[in-house]
Symmetry: D3
Subunit: 61 residues, 6 copies
């Protein structure tokens, strides 16, 4: 049942998302003892104009 929501700056490839989904699902199965088919992972890619750190947009850093 776990739901994992990942928010990151855009630019990761589909291959990187594929590997992340596999590794994070395996961690939940091994550690949290959930069934693999119960794990949903959703990924939000943000443009640098939509993420700020320390009060500044990433597009300005």
């Amino acid at each position: 049942m776990p739901i994992v929501h990942i928010q990151m700056i855009e630019g990761r490839s589909v291959e990187q998302k594929r590997q992340l989904a596999e590794a994070i699902t395996r961690a939940l199965v091994d550690i949290a003892k959930t069934a693999p088919e119960a794990v949903n992972i959703v990924i939000d890619d943000y443009p640098r104009t939509n993420w700020a750190k320390a009060g500044k947009l990433m597009s300005e850093q």
Copy 2:
């Protein structure tokens, strides 16, 4: 005041979103006794490369 956040795979039409908004708002009004104008619903459409189930991206299933 309720906020409803729906995450789903992209591809639903505006007409389907219109009907979902109407049906879910009605459920909140009837069951949770909220005023209709207090209900906000936001919908996130995800490409199949950004959603994984059972450790595999939806684009690979």
Copy 3:
């Protein structure tokens, strides 16, 4: 696959949550043509000190 995240002020009963889950899942099945077992709904109940509208906490309104 749809994930529905409901945020509301605390105080709804388990029976109300049961009816909301049923009604919202039915709406997604009927309108968005998803399988019922693919629908996850999570509910966050907030104390009135943790929700603000129009710049004022609900506990002060």
Copy 4:
């Protein structure tokens, strides 16, 4: 450490996002006594077809 997630209708300019990031980070630093570099703000812009209020999509209001 605070994470601030802002959901709004699309259409705000980068300059408005820049000012929001600055003002909200300052509020967290001044009021919640967090370090500025610990504040992450992410902004989701929604099309009017993906936001409903009072049971109607914003695109129909």
Copy 5:
């Protein structure tokens, strides 16, 4: 219409939340030109065992 979701480590007082709600709403009204009554802010307080940074729970740092 903006929805602001704040996630932070528990321990802030109601007075701090009151001031945050006021300051963040004012920023949205002044900068994003929204009506104050359209702004919803929800705050999630997390125990230190439920937040990790750099791979370590905050309760261990």
Copy 6:
């Protein structure tokens, strides 16, 4: 910068959360090439009355 938000049924121990934080951060560092100190993970534990699958609360399944 990645933010990972995990929603699961309550009952996992602090030790399980510690291991999840470590494994998921390592996956993000190795695969998404992020710095470890840029990774924030927040965990929401839900009672079975606040999670529904297939239209039924987990407390009834």
